[in-house]
């Protein structure tokens, strides 16, 4: 690879921020793939976009709004039922502090 933009260390950092546990082999694999993508971005960067408005989303419609009206469709039990652990009132997770 002539044009390395992302080191395996940086891949490891991004992975840890995303709570992903990657083997060294995977880190190298993804570094390669990500570098290919970044190289392609360089290609796109060759185009002059000075007068082009940035597009944040390919979806063309805008301004989807909701009225400020209360809707309750599910009971607490139904919501808590989806959690790995709960005590009937709270979601229970491994202690964090």
């Amino acid at each position: 690879m002539s044009d390395v933009k992302l080191s395996t260390d940086e891949v490891a950092k991004v992975a840890s921020l995303a709570r992903l546990d990657l083997s060294d082999k995977k880190k190298e694999l993804f570094a390669g793939q990500l570098n290919n993508i970044l190289s392609y971005m360089d290609k796109l960067n060759e185009i002059d976009t000075k007068d082009v408005e940035p597009m944040f989303s390919p979806v063309e419609h805008t301004t989807v709004l909701r009225k400020d009206v209360i809707i309750k469709e599910h009971t607490r039990d139904e919501i808590l039922a989806n959690a790995p652990d709960s005590d009937g009132q709270y979601f229970v997770v491994p202690r964090i502090v």
Binding site: F56, T62, D68, K72, I79, N82, Y90, F91, P94
Partner: protein
């Protein structure tokens, strides 16, 4: 020795008074059972889509208008990524590029350390919309954390200032001014203790004359204006000490400890601030129609600064009084309601600033629950003004009638507290006091004219404070001349 300058920027999170959350129809009602106000959207179930509450857009724009911001015609939402159990999706929906409001300012007036009145313009960098996080309870005994998502998705606006403030007085004045505007707009209840108005203080120091900023610390967990003041003073001293000892300031988040009056490092993970913002593909861009903006602009209520000017002009009261009376919307409303019944602006202002505020602060209930209605206040001021009761009696009975919400006219009548202007009975009291104090009478005649206030005091005592002071004073002087 090097003199240092403090530089302060503030981030305020204001909870908006909507019925429902920012991206789903769950109620925002405070104090419900844990996880009662939770649905598939705000609990972060896979495949759900957030939809913006139109009131959140309206309230954010109104705050922008009130702080002289440009309202961006187009704004977008972003994901701020971090892992914490109070944030079930693993990201907070916020705004990063293209927030709804930018480039505003606020004019503040305050007294500096020496009590000098000062004015300053503080820049408002941006106002953006975002969702609040939930609450965790940690149990060592059970080795678990318990998560309540009722607050998850409650709408917030974050108001970010420019680093324009140079001391604690300016910071507190700015915060009070923001809070006051939020209350006038009726879009936030402004409660610091309950966390519906939260402020983070970014603070650094630099040698006077230095252009670039020093390394800043961000202070969190400050829940009163007084503590903002204390936290800033502590942090400035801490940073100057470090620099003078040749040490480096670390850019970090520090928590304020109200009991100790100190700040301490949050022992943050090194990458806690690596949020990897990107545009949220679940939300389409928000485009604000010109008609909406015109409508909101037209519906803006009178704001504190405008009301202050009106009070000064219409009621001919001092700038200080107008400032005080308009800072809180409900106080200003109360004042005007009293004037509706008794139109003596200066006298009413004095009573409100004095005894009324003292009792209100001590009673620890808001003005909305206060039993002492504006008409009662008007009656009291009028009775004192028209010599029905003395000023002293007015002050003496104030606590009782304020607390129980009693009609002052009836109370005074029932207790027989009317001022005594009947010269024959007053004369008897004056004669008795003069007869009882022959030494003082002698001294007065010998030239100690100041003793007139002693005699006044004695007559007041004799008449249980009900004597008309004007008549008594004249009477004493006549009798001793």
């Amino acid at each position: 020795m090097v003199q240092f300058e403090t530089v302060i920027g503030l981030e305020v999170h204001a909870q908006l008074k909507t019925n429902t959350k920012i991206f789903c129809g769950c109620s925002t009602q405070f104090g419900k059972e844990p996880n009662e106000n939770v649905c598939e959207v705000c609990s972060g179930m896979p495949g759900v889509l957030p939809v913006l509450n139109e009131k959140v857009m309206e309230y954010a724009a109104k705050m922008g208008l009130a702080t002289n911001c440009i309202i961006n015609k187009k704004s977008i939402f972003a994901r701020k990524n971090y892992f914490y159990p109070d944030l079930p999706k693993g990201y907070q929906i916020s705004q990063f590029e293209l927030p709804i409001c930018e480039h505003g300012h606020l004019n503040i007036s305050y007294e500096d350390k020496s009590g000098e009145p000062c004015k300053k313009r503080i820049g408002v960098t941006r106002i953006h919309m975002e969702e609040d996080a939930g609450k965790n309870i940690h149990s060592v005994a059970e080795n678990a954390s318990f998560v309540d998502l009722n607050r998850t998705g409650v709408p917030l606006i974050e108001i970010v200032s420019e680093p324009d403030m140079r001391n604690a007085e300016e910071a507190v004045a700015y915060l009070k001014s923001l809070r006051s505007i939020l209350l006038y707009l009726d879009i936030c209840d402004g409660n610091l203790e309950e966390g519906s108005f939260r402020c983070d203080v970014n603070i650094s120091v630099r040698p006077f004359g230095q252009e670039e900023f020093g390394t800043r610390a961000e202070l969190k967990n400050i829940n009163s204006f007084r503590n903002v003041h204390k936290a800033i003073h502590y942090e400035v001293a801490r940073q100057i000490d470090l620099i003078e000892d040749g040490e480096k300031i670390i850019q970090e988040t520090r928590l304020y400890d109200a009991d100790k009056g100190t700040t301490h490092s949050m022992r943050g993970k090194a990458d806690a601030h690596d949020y990897r913002y990107f545009p949220d593909p679940d939300l389409v861009p928000l485009v604000i129609a010109d008609e909406w903006l015109a409508e909101w602009q037209a519906a803006q209520p009178e704001l504190p600064a405008e009301r202050k000017v009106r009070f000064e002009e219409d009621f001919k009261i001092s700038e200080d009084d107008a400032d005080f009376l308009t800072a809180e919307k409900d106080i200003a409303d109360y004042y005007e309601a009293v004037l509706d019944s008794y139109n003596e602006p200066k006298k009413v202002a004095n009573w409100i600033k004095g005894d009324f505020m003292k009792e209100l602060n001590q009673s620890e209930v808001g003005l909305s629950e206060c039993k002492f209605k504006p008409e009662m206040m008007a009656t009291l001021v009028e009775m004192v003004d028209k010599d029905v009761i003395s000023n002293k009696i007015g002050k003496d009975i104030f606590n009782e009638i304020f607390t129980a919400g009693l009609d002052p006219a009836k109370f005074v009548k029932d207790k027989g507290l009317e001022q005594n202007s009947d010269s024959s009975s007053l004369e008897a009291a004056v004669d008795k006091v003069l007869a009882d104090n022959p030494n003082e009478v002698e001294a007065y005649k010998g030239g100690k004219k100041k003793l007139v206030s002693f005699f006044m005091g004695q007559v007041m005592k004799e008449t249980k404070g009900q004597a008309n002071p004007g008549i008594v004073s004249k009477m004493i002087q006549q009798k001793l001349s």
